[in-house]
């Protein structure tokens, strides 16, 4: 019986490098070729962001960081270009900057149904590509229903915040690991890989873990 390599990934829904890193990790895991079990964990980059932030991501960065708008727009254009290189069509003109905590609750809800990976991908796509709002309960319920989840059950889970404790537990565990930024990959519980690394890096780390297991 195979013993897959466990990969725990801390990530936020509105983190551009997390989606790019997801694609690079997936390519690296495919290159590795062995059994890998992925579990996503919640990380809130900006928990003080209002759900209905009045403005675009460019406005948000300009306001929060005091950067000139031209510089912000150039940064977003660069990230969009890098996303394109891994097959992702970021559409920053239609992105809704928001608070992501309830979207993390939805990911935990999906996890309870054995469908976490599907929901994670759908929410990243919703935020960066489709221009959907990922901070409001009705919008999140619509996304869940689109994936075939039961509307009443999802609504109850999000309105009761039944999975908020799971989100906070993930954030607390990130602190125990000393995680400062995302994406962050914990491989086999002992190796930490930070950021959107190249696919070959992920493949090499997974191969190293596999070799270490075989040497025991």
């Amino acid at each position: 019986m195979s013993n897959p390599i466990k990969v725990d990934i801390w990530s936020d829904v509105q983190c551009p490098w997390c989606y790019i890193g997801k694609r690079k990790f997936e390519a690296g895991a495919a290159e590795f070729g062995g059994d890998v079990e992925v579990e996503y964990h919640s990380f809130e980059l900006a928990p003080d962001t209002p759900v209905d932030f009045d403005g675009s991501p460019a406005d948000y960065l300009a306001q929060r960081k005091g950067l000139p708008m031209a510089q912000v727009e150039e940064m977003l254009e660069r990230v969009t270009g890098i996303a394109k290189s891994v097959g992702l069509d970021y559409d920053y003109d239609h992105v809704h900057q928001t608070n992501t905590v309830i979207s993390h609750e939805l990911i935990h809800f999906a996890k309870s149904k054995g469908r976490q990976l599907e929901m994670k991908e759908r929410l990243l796509d919703a935020y960066f590509v489709r221009g959907e709002h990922v901070g409001r309960i009705p919008d999140l319920v619509a996304i869940a229903v689109d994936l075939g989840f039961d509307e009443a059950e999802v609504t109850e889970a999000l309105e009761s915040h039944r999975f908020l404790a799971d989100v906070k537990a993930d954030v607390a565990l990130a602190q125990e690991y000393g995680i400062q930024g995302v994406p962050f990959f914990v491989i086999d519980g002992k190796y930490g890989v930070s950021g959107a690394q190249e696919a070959a890096t992920f493949a090499n780390v997974l191969t190293q873990v596999q070799n270490e297991r075989e040497a025991v």
């Binding site: 980059l45 125990e176 930024g181 190796y191 930490g192 690394q197 890096t201």
Partner: protein
């Protein structure tokens, strides 16, 4: 000004990979230099087409 002292991790991990890989910290997502150079190169290539 001195950098803030970060809390020591409770669970130790061996770090692998490029320490300069792109990541988001707080509400800011920096673009590493090698990515910026790649974009410049791409623009130069496109202009040549």
């Amino acid at each position: 000004m001195d950098a803030p002292t970060l809390p020591l991790p409770i669970i130790a991990l061996a770090q692998l990979g490029d320490p300069g890989a792109a990541a988001c910290e707080g509400d800011f997502c920096a673009i590493p230099d090698h990515h910026q150079q790649a974009v410049v190169n791409r623009k130069l290539d496109e202009d040549l087409v």
